[in-house]
């Protein structure tokens, strides 16, 4: 967590508020150490907001877009990892047999989930960011690419709509 915040601060040296991520990472650190999920969660949200605030004046380029989204998902990855670590440490405390195969499997599957979600989320966000940039920020691109992008973006919008409807219509069947 400290490393990611330090990295964020280092890449934000152009701003007078470059130290904000470093300061705001204290809150989730406290939450992590005292095992208060609410403090951890709100601390991470504050860290993300502080990072965005520090970089609010940077110019729009593809590199900056990737950097902003990259850091966003880095913080999210740290957040998820911290929550998973707290859960696993809770399991270790309650269950003497933490070497149990089921617990080991669970730890492994957590890492897979973490990696999969963050990477997939990153690509989806980059994709969606490009849509936003194209539609609102008057990014100049060629006519042929525009047509291809239109088709891809329309499909993506419908796909995301489908996913959202699917998520919201979920019912408790247990």
């Amino acid at each position: 967590m400290i490393l990611s915040a330090a990295l964020a601060s280092l890449t934000s040296l152009h701003s007078v508020y470059w130290f904000f991520p470093l300061i705001f990472c204290i809150v989730p650190l406290i939450g992590y150490n005292v095992r208060r999920l609410l403090v951890l969660d709100s601390g991470i949200l504050l860290l993300i907001i502080s990072y965005l605030f520090v970089n609010r004046v940077i110019s729009f380029t593809t590199a900056n877009l990737l950097s902003i989204i990259g850091f966003f998902f880095l913080f999210v990855g740290v957040w998820f990892y911290a929550r998973n670590t707290l859960l696993v440490s809770g399991i270790d405390e309650v269950f003497e047999s933490s070497s149990d195969k089921n617990v080991q499997d669970f730890k492994r599957s957590a890492l897979n989930d973490l990696f999969g979600n963050v990477v997939m989320g990153f690509f989806l966000a980059v994709f969606a960011g490009l849509i936003g940039a194209y539609s609102s920020l008057e990014m100049g691109i060629g006519a042929n690419i525009e047509i291809i992008l239109m088709v891809i973006f329309s499909s993506a919008v419908f796909f995301i709509l489908y996913l959202l409807i699917n998520i919201f219509s979920w019912k408790k069947t247990a």
Partner: protein, 428 residues
Amino acid sequence: MKMDKLLVYLTALTILTVLLGNLFRSWVFFMGAISSLALFVIVGRSLPPDDIRVDVRRETSRGIRDVYLGDEIELNIHLENKGDELRFLEVHDILPSLVEVVDGSNHQIVRLEKGEKKDLYYKISCPVSGKIEVGPTKIRYRDTFNFFSEELDEEENISIRILPRVQEMKKIDINPSYTKHWLGDIKSKSIGVGNEFFSLREYHIGDEIRDINWKATARYQKPFTNEYEAEKSGDVILVVDGYKKGIVGTMRNNTLESSVDAAASLSSAILSARNQVGVIVAGEYLNWVYPGTGKNQYQSILSNLAKFEKGGTWGLEGVKWLLEDFFPRRSMIIFISPLTVPEFSDTIVDFCRREYDVMVISPDPVKIEKNIVGDLGSTAEKLHRAERKNIIEKLWTYGTVVVDWDPNQPLEPALEEVLRYRQRKRRA
């Protein structure tokens, strides 16, 4: 909604970034909003399974519901996943606080593939007698990042009776002073049905051929018949004192537990001598078993002792009317009481004055306390000892036989010693 917490966080982040983006007129915040939406779509899609259904069934091994104190009982939880794959399923069988898990665990984590069946086992033991409720079984699914949890069906409780510990007492002859007509093991010093030779008499018509004493017949040239000493039985009523104020010790080791164990052991020994045994347990409620014999009687005594609840409603004086009005007169009454409530000794004396044959078995509360806390402090211990000695001497004076029993030791030697003294006294 699949992931309530995550939804709240990401919605808050999205709204905040959109507001800040408008405020600062910065594209960076809008990228934050887009990223949080993308994250929500991905995580919400992949994490909790759509269908979470697990069938739970709990049972004891071989369907046993009665166990003796200190015995182990195996519990099996059968799980069947009828929904999607569950990576983290927490199974927690709720147990009463006194119950000890001796093998396995009542709290386990399992992973269940789709359609998979799994059996979980663990063994428990209970250090106190009585009825225990096992369950309900709490089942909780959690996702890997602890954003989502779902409580599943709960299996109903099952009741298990922990019967009191029974000590083997082979040498004990608790012979009631007043016997009844039915056959037993007590020698009555009178002629009747029995196995022990008593005397000879001339043959009368109707005597059994097998009772003819052939040696005496040959010697005196006329038929003689053996007479036997009648073996009879009596009524013994065990009165267990469960008055709450008088109980000394911890939840696991106390005078009441010792009294219940003693009552169970005595009823087994007395019943095996073909006497009739009844039980009155006085605590929160007044439970009793009318005198009877046989295995069924023993089982009903044990179950009565197992469901017994200590309380402050019924002291020993409260059982007076019950004994007088409902139980046979001239029964032998064995009070099992720590004698910590002084008024109870008056009740016992009162019974001695009447036509009852009274015995007191008193688990020593000072010994129990000493076993728990170590040194009591010499003055306090001396005071308690003196007080107890006074009560016991008073009871002896009124003709009560008192067994001052150290519950950390077996009951048989202490009882045997006192019974020997009682027999000598009777002969004298």
